[in-house]
C-alpha cells in the first residue's frame, strides 16, 4: 500500500452492495481519474465492516475516517472536501447517539471500541479479490511456517494449546478433532469447510468468505497438512453468490501462486480445494447431513459414531470445521497459541463473531473476546435498544438457542455459560427483543423455522416440532389450557431427549427457555386470555372509552367491516364479533377514545 497517499475503502459486503456500494466505488474511481489523482489515492472494495446498520460504509485511511450511509451523490463531496482539501465531510460521519457528537476516528466509535477482530481481521481492510493484499497482511505465512518448520504433530499441538473450539455451534476442540482425523488411517482423507450458514439473520461465515477468503483457504491447507489430506471441499450454500465468486477467485489466485495444488512451496505437500454447493437446507449444517449432501445423497443426518473424523465423506476420514474456526487458524500459527489462549475465558479461548440483529440500534457483525458480557454487547457495541424501549430478552444460538433475560446480562459469554443459562453459543446469531415482543410468539417464530427445516428423518423432530408449534398457535389464539402448558413442557423435553441430531435436540430450546424465563406471559395468554405485549391479534380487544368519545363518527366511518355503531354525538361501540383488529379506528380517532384492552 506504500505508494498511495490515501486509501478509500468501500464496503463490498452483500448488504452494502444492495445499497449501491458498487456505484459508489465506480464513481469514486471515475472522480479520481477525472482529477488525475488515480496514482495518489487508491479505491478498493473490501469485505464487510460489520456496521451494517449504517451502510454503505466508506472508510478513509490512514486517518480512520468512517463515513456512513454514503450514496453515489456524496462521492464528489468526499473527493473535493476530504481528498483534495483535507476537510472531513461532517454530515457523513457517524454520530454518537448519546452525545450527538460526530466521531472523527472510527476507533472511538462505541461499535468498535470493545470489539477484538481476529477472524474478521482483514474484513473491511483488504481487497478480498487480491491475494497480494492478503499476503501483505502476513497471509500464507502460517502455511509456509507449517510446511517448512513444523511437523503435523507440532501444528496439532499448537492448535490444541490455543484452546480453539469449533465455531459452528458444537464447540468441539479443533485441535483434538484434527488429531483424531490424523490418527485415522486411510488412503484418502478430506478437509471439509462447513460454509452452510443457515441461522436466520446470521452472516458471519458469509462475511468472512466475502471479505477474507484466503484466510479460510490457508487454514484448510494447514489442516490438510496436519491430517494427511490432499483434498479440501468447501460446502457452501448456493444462495451466497458473492462469497462463491470471491472464493473461486481466491482459489485460482492461490493456485497461480503455488499455494494450492502440487508440491506447495516446494514442500512436497499437495493440496487443492473444490467447491460443493448446498441447496439451502438448514440441517445440512449438521456435519453428517452435510457429508451426505456432498455425496449426492439426501441431506439428512446419521447417527454418530462413526464420527466423520473416522468415516466421513465417501466413508473416508474427514475433518469438518466451520468457516470461522478456519479463519482463526493462520493467526494462531503466526502469533502463537499462548497469545490466543490469553484471550477469552478458561474454557472458551479467543473471540466469537456474532450477528447482532433485532431491536437494537447497531445492527451488524461484531467480533468480541469470549467472556464479554451480554450487557457490553447489547448496550455498548449494539448501542442499546431501538427507540428508547426497554430490553426484554436476547436470543443467542440461532433458531435453536434460548431466550435470555435481564438476569443474564452480566453473564460472561462463553460456550458453557450459555448452555447453563439455557441457551447456547450456536454459530453466533444474536437477536435482541424489546418490551413489545411477545415471548410466546417469539417461541412460535423459531419453531416455525425448525419445523420447516427438519429433514423428517426421526419421529420426534418430524412430528413433535409440528405439535409444539400447533400448541403454541393454540395459546396465541387464546385457546390454550393449563394442560397444554404441561404438554408443551413434556413434549419439548422428549424431543430434546430423543431426537437424532442437533437440530431436534435443540429445537425446543426457545419454548423451554421462554417458559422458564417468561412463564407469566404464558399464564397471561392461557388464563387471562391476554397478550401482555399486544402482539397476539386474537387476544386483543379494541374498545371505546366512554369519557373520551365525543361521537364524531370518524371511527365508524373508517371501519372497513362496519363493526362500530353509534349515534352522532353519542357513545360509539365496537362489536367484538365483527371487529378484525385492523387498528383503523385508533388511527382515525382524534380524541384518544379508542384503546386496546
Amino acid at each position: 500500500m506504500a505508494k498511495y497517499k490515501m486509501h478509500l475503502l468501500v464496503c463490498g459486503g452483500t448488504g452494502c452492495r444492495a445499497s449501491e456500494s458498487e456505484a459508489i466505488f465506480q464513481d469514486l474511481k471515475t472522480a479520481l481519474l477525472n482529477r488525475g489523482l488515480e496514482n495518489e489515492v487508491q479505491v478498493i472494495t473490501t469485505g464487510c465492516f460489520g456496521f451494517c446498520e449504517k451502510g454503505p460504509i466508506v472508510k478513509v485511511m490512514p486517518d480512520n475516517t468512517f463515513y456512513t450511509q454514503v450514496t453515489p451523490a456524496d462521492v464528489n463531496e468526499i473527493i473535493e472536501e476530504h481528498v483534495i482539501k483535507g476537510r472531513k465531510v461532517n454530515r457523513l460521519l457517524y454520530e454518537n447517539p448519546e452525545t450527538a457528537e460526530k466521531v472523527e476516528d472510527s476507533k472511538h466509535m462505541g461499535f468498535y471500541r470493545k470489539q477484538l477482530r481476529i477472524a474478521l481481521r482483514n474484513c473491511g481492510f483488504i481487497d478480498p479479490e487480491n491475494i497480494d493484499e492478503y499476503i501483505g497482511r502476513d497471509g500464507y505465512q502460517a502455511l509456509g511456517k507449517c510446511l517448512s518448520e513444523l511437523t503435523p504433530e507440532q501444528v496439532i499441538e499448537i492448535m490444541k494449546k490455543s484452546g480453539l473450539r469449533g465455531r459452528g455451534g458444537g464447540g468441539f476442540p479443533a485441535g483434538l478433532k484434527w488429531e483424531i482425523t490424523r490418527q485415522s488411517k486411510a488412503d484418502q482423507k478430506y478437509v471439509v469447510c462447513n460454509a452452510d450458514e443457515g441461522d436466520p439473520g446470521a452472516f458471519m461465515d458469509r462475511s468472512i468468505l466475502e471479505g477474507d477468503p484466503h484466510s479460510v483457504i490457508e487454514a484448510m491447507a494447514i489442516c490438510g497438512y496436519c491430517i494427511d489430506a490432499t483434498k479440501g471441499l468447501v460446502y457452501i450454500r448456493a444462495e451466497y453468490p458473492l462469497a462463491i465468486e470471491r472464493l473461486k477467485i481466491a482459489i485460482n489466485q492461490a493456485r497461480e501462486y503455488g499455494l494450492l495444488g502440487k508440491d506447495i512451496l516446494g514442500s512436497g505437500f499437495d493440496f487443492d480445494i473444490e467447491l460443493r454447493y448446498g441447496a439451502g437446507a438448514f440441517v445440512c449444517g449438521e456435519e453428517t447431513a452435510l457429508i451426505h449432501s456432498m455425496e449426492g445423497l439426501r441431506g439428512e443426518p446419521t447417527m454418530k459414531p462413526p464420527f466423520p473424523s473416522v468415516s466421513g465423506y465417501l466413508s473416508k476420514p474427514t475433518n469438518v470445521n466451520n468457516v470461522e474456526t478456519f479463519a482463526n487458524v493462520p493467526v494462531i500459527i503466526n502469533r502463537g497459541p499462548e497469545w490466543f489462549a490469553a484471550i477469552g475465558t478458561e474454557k472458551s479461548r479467543g473471540t466469537k463473531v456474532f450477528a447482532l440483529a433485532g431491536k437494537i440500534n447497531n445492527v451488524g457483525l461484531i467480533e468480541v473476546p469470549m467472556g464479554i458480557t451480554l450487557r457490553d454487547v447489547i448496550f455498548e457495541i449494539g448501542g442499546g435498544i431501538k427507540d428508547g424501549k426497554k430490553f426484554k430478552a436476547v436470543q443467542t444460538g440461532g433458531p435453536s438457542g434460548g431466550c435470555l433475560t435481564h438476569r443474564h446480562l452480566d453473564t460472561p459469554i462463553d460456550y458453557d455459560n450459555l448452555i447453563s443459562a439455557g441457551s447456547m453459543m450456536g454459530s453466533g446469531g444474536m437477536i435482541v427483543m424489546d418490551e413489545d415482543d411477545c415471548m410466546v410468539s417469539i417461541a412460535k417464530f423459531y419453531l416455525d423455522f425448525t419445523v420447516e427445516e427438519s429433514c423428517g428423518k426421526c419421529s420426534p423432530c418430524r412430528i413433535g416440532n409440528k405439535r409444539l408449534i400447533e400448541i403454541l398457535d393454540k395459546i396465541c389464539q387464546g385457546k390454550g389450557t393449563m394442560e397444554d402448558l404441561d404438554n408443551l413442557r413434556n413434549l419439548s423435553q422428549v424431543i430434546k431427549d430423543t431426537s437424532l441430531c442437533g437440530l431436534g435436540q435443540t429445537s425446543p430450546n426457545p419454548v423451554l427457555s421462554t417458559m422458564e424465563n417468561f412463564y407469566e406471559e404464558y399464564i397471561a395468554h392461557v388464563v387471562d386470555k391476554k397478550c401482555p405485549s399486544g402482539q397476539c391479534k386474537a387476544l386483543l380487544q379494541y374498545t371505546i372509552d366512554e369519557e373520551n368519545c365525543v361521537g364524531c363518527t370518524a371511527c365508524a366511518r373508517n371501519c372497513p367491516v362496519n363493526a362500530i355503531s353509534g349515534e352522532r354525538k353519542g357513545l360509539h361501540i365496537i362489536d367484538q364479533a365483527v371487529c378484525i383488529k385492523c387498528g383503523a379506528c385508533i388511527e382515525k380517532c382524534k380524541f384518544n377514545a379508542v384503546f386496546i384492552k
Binding site: S454, G456, C458, P460, G464, K466, N487, D497, Q505
Partner: protein
C-alpha cells in the same frame, strides 16, 4: 468380550454389539419399529429414525437408540425407567398422531407392527393431536401405496435400494411432509418398479400393501357360467399354514387343496405341473444353446438366464435392455399354466376360453403384474385372470368359514395337478436350476442320474457359483437371489468376465418362499429358513423327482404340444422381452 449392565443384569458381549442385541441376550426385549435385521441374509435397516428403542445410558446426556448404540465396557443401561417409558410413549403417541387410526378397516390390521406396539405400550389416548400429513393414494397393477400410513421407517427404501438396487423408493420432501415415494412423487407404474413386493414384505404398517383381488375371485366363483380353475405356486404350501397359527415350515399342501375345493374352485390344479413343463422347455433351450456352443457356434449367447421370476424380467427389461436376448424365452410356470389351461384343458372340457377363469395363488406380487401383461392375453382375454397372494388366499379361506387346521389332506386334480419333486424346488433360490439340471443331465448324457440332490446349488449365499459334471463336460452354473445380486452377475456378463452356461435369478431374498405375497416374517429370517427346509422336504417326499418323468407332462406333449421348443410350444409357452429403458414422462 466386554461387560454391560442392563436393567441391573450384567451381560457379556462382544465388542461392537449393539445395545438391542445385548439386551436380548439378557432376556430384555426393547421394542423397535424401524429396525429390521434379517440375520441369515445379512439385511439390516437401522436408520435410528423412529426413536422407539431409546434407552437411558448412565452418564449420557440424552437417551440412546438401542438399535445403533454400541456397547461399551462398563456401560449401565436402563430400558424402562420413567424417563425412558415417558419418552417412548410420547414418541409413539406422536407417530400415532400423524397416522390415520382406521385400524379396523386397514388391510394390515392384525399384522401391523405399529398397531401391535401401541397395544403393547398400552396407549389409550393420544395427547398430541394435530394436523396429519396426507398424500395421494397410488395404485399400480400390484402394489398400493397409502403413504398417509408411512412412518418413515425406511425399510422399503432400504430393500428397494440396497437389496434390490431398483432405486424407485426414497425419502422425498422434508419435515412434516417427508415421506417415502418414487422420485417426483410419480406413480409407481410410471417408475422402474419391478413389483417384487419386498417393500410390502417389510412395511410395518398399511402404507404398502398388495392390490387385493379376492373379491374378483369370489365373484368368479359365484358365476355359474364360469369354470374356475386354480393353480398354486410351490412356495405357497410352505407358508400358508403360518396364517393359521402353524409353525413356520409346516407343509400344508393337502389342506390347501382341500380348502380350495371347499372354496368352490372347479378344478384344483398345481403350478408345479407347469413348472415341470417349464423345465422341459427351458431345459431344451439350455441344452440347445450349450450344444451349439460346444460345437463351436459363435452366434450362440451364453449364459442362458432363467425367466420364471416376473420381478426379475421387469428388472432386466428396465435396467439391462441391451441384454434382453440372453434370458430364456420360456414363459413363467404361472403363464404356461394359464396358456395350457385355456387351450388344451378348455378344449378337453369343450368350453370357450372366455368361460374359463384361471386363478393363481402366488407368493408373489409381481405375478399380478405379469398376468396383466398384454403379451399374455388372447383377444384381450388373459391366460391368467387373477393372481392372488398367499395372504389373500388365507383371507378367502377365513371369509368362507373354513376351519383350515382341521381340514383333511386332499390331492390335486388331474391332469394339471400332477407334479414332481423337481418342480416344487422352484420355490427356493437355486431350485429352478437344480430341477433343470436333473433333466438336462439325463438328456445330455443319456445316462440315468443316480443322485438327484445337488447340494452345491443350495444355500442362502447371495451369489453362488457351482460346477456340475455332465459326464465329463463341466457345466458352470451361477445363482443369485435379490436383484442387487442379479445386477452383479449381469454386470459380470456384460463385461465379459463371466463364463457361466446357465444362471438362475430370483428377485426375492430366499427365492419365492420370501416373496412379497407371503405371510409377513416381521424380520425373523428363521421363518425363511424353515420354509426353505419345507420345500426340500416336499421334494424328498415325491415319488417322481425329475420333471421329464412326469407322466402327465409326457402325455401333454404326445397329445397336444408335439415336442419341447416345437412350433406349438413356441407359440403357447414362450415369450419375448421389451426394452423398457426409455425414461417415462413425469406428469
Amino acid at each position: 468380550m466386554i461387560k454391560v449392565k442392563i436393567d441391573n443384569k450384567t451381560v457379556e458381549v462382544e465388542k461392537g454389539t449393539i445395545l438391542l442385541d445385548a439386551a436380548r441376550k439378557a432376556g430384555i426385549n426393547i421394542p423397535t419399529l424401524c429396525y429390521l435385521h434379517l440375520h441369515d441374509l445379512n439385511i439390516t435397516n437401522k436408520p435410528a429414525g423412529c426413536r422407539v428403542c431409546v434407552v437411558e445410558v448412565k452418564g449420557r446426556k440424552n437417551l440412546a437408540p438401542a438399535c445403533v448404540t454400541e456397547c461399551m465396557d462398563g456401560m449401565e443401561v436402563n430400558t424402562h425407567n420413567i424417563r425412558v417409558l415417558n419418552a417412548r410413549k410420547t414418541v409413539l403417541e406422536l407417530i400415532l398422531s400423524d397416522h390415520p387410526t382406521d385400524c379396523l378397516i386397514c388391510p394390515k390390521s392384525g399384522t401391523c407392527d405399529l398397531q401391535t406396539l401401541a397395544q403393547e405400550m398400552g396407549i389409550r389416548q393420544i395427547r398430541y393431536q394435530g394436523e396429519q400429513s396426507t398424500y395421494r393414494e397410488d395404485t399400480s397393477p400390484a402394489i398400493i401405496r397409502d403413504v398417509d400410513k408411512c412412518i418413515m421407517c425406511r425399510r422399503c427404501e432400504m430393500m428397494c435400494n440396497e437389496v434390490q438396487t431398483v432405486g424407485v423408493l426414497s425419502a422425498v420432501n422434508r419435515g412434516f411432509m417427508a415421506v417415502v415415494a418414487p422420485a417426483f412423487e410419480m406413480n409407481l407404474d410410471h417408475s422402474v418398479c419391478t413389483y417384487c413386493g419386498q417393500c410390502v414384505a417389510v412395511c410395518p404398517t398399511g402404507a404398502l400393501t398388495e392390490v387385493d383381488h379376492t373379491n374378483n375371485v369370489i365373484r368368479a366363483l359365484a358365476d355359474p357360467s364360469k369354470t374356475v380353475i386354480v393353480q398354486t405356486a410351490p412356495a405357497v404350501r410352505a407358508a400358508l399354514g403360518e396364517e393359521f397359527g402353524m409353525e413356520a415350515g409346516t407343509l400344508v399342501t393337502g389342506k390347501m387343496a382341500a380348502a380350495l375345493r371347499r372354496l368352490g374352485f372347479d378344478y384344483v390344479f398345481d403350478t408345479d405341473f407347469a413348472a415341470d413343463l417349464t423345465i422341459m422347455e427351458e431345459g431344451t433351450e439350455l441344452l440347445d444353446r450349450i450344444g451349439r456352443h460346444l460345437n463351436g457356434d459363435k452366434t450362440v449367447k451364453l449364459p442362458i438366464l432363467t425367466s420364471c421370476c416376473p420381478g426379475w424380467v421387469s428388472f432386466f427389461e428396465h435396467q439391462f435392455p441391451d441384454m434382453i436376448d440372453i434370458p430364456s424365452t420360456a414363459r413363467s410356470p404361472q403363464q404356461m399354466f394359464g396358456s395350457i389351461a385355456k387351450t388344451y384343458f378348455a378344449e378337453k372340457l369343450g368350453i370357450k376360453r372366455e368361460n374359463m377363469v384361471v386363478v393363481s395363488i402366488m407368493p408373489c406380487l409381481a405375478k399380478k403384474y405379469e398376468c396383466s401383461r398384454d403379451e399374455f392375453k388372447v383377444d384381450g382375454n388373459p391366460d391368467v385372470d387373477f393372481a392372488i397372494s398367499t395372504r389373500e388366499l388365507a383371507h378367502l379361506i377365513k371369509q368362507a368359514n373354513i376351519e383350515f387346521n382341521h381340514l383333511p389332506d386332499e390331492d390335486f386334480d388331474r391332469p394339471m395337478g400332477e407334479s414332481t419333486g423337481a418342480s416344487v424346488l422352484f420355490g427356493v433360490t437355486g431350485g429352478v436350476i437344480e430341477a433343470a439340471t436333473r433333466t438336462a443331465y439325463e438328456v445330455f448324457t443319456g445316462k440315468k442320474l443316480e443322485k438327484v440332490d445337488f447340494e452345491q446349488l443350495r444355500g442362502m449365499d447371495w451369489v453362488r457359483r457351482a460346477e456340475v459334471d455332465f459326464d465329463g463336460t463341466p457345466i458352470k452354473i451361477g445363482i443369485a437371489h435379490g436383484l442387487g445380486n442379479a445386477r452383479k452377475l449381469l454386470e459380470e456378463i456384460r463385461e465379459g468376465k463371466a463364463d457361466f452356461h446357465a444362471i438362475e435369478i430370483m428377485a426375492c431374498p430366499g427365492g419365492c418362499i420370501g416373496g412379497g405375497g407371503q405371510p409377513l416374517h416381521h424380520g425373523d429370517s428363521s421363518i425363511l429358513k424353515a420354509r426353505t427346509a419345507a420345500i426340500y422336504r416336499e421334494d424328498l417326499g415325491k415319488p417322481i423327482r425329475k420333471s421329464h418323468e412326469n407322466p402327465f407332462i409326457q402325455k401333454l406333449y404326445e397329445d397336444f404340444l408335439g415336442k419341447p421348443c416345437g412350433h406349438k410350444s413356441h407359440h403357447l409357452l414362450h415369450t419375448h422381452y421389451f426394452d423398457k429403458s426409455n425414461p417415462v414422462e413425469i406428469e
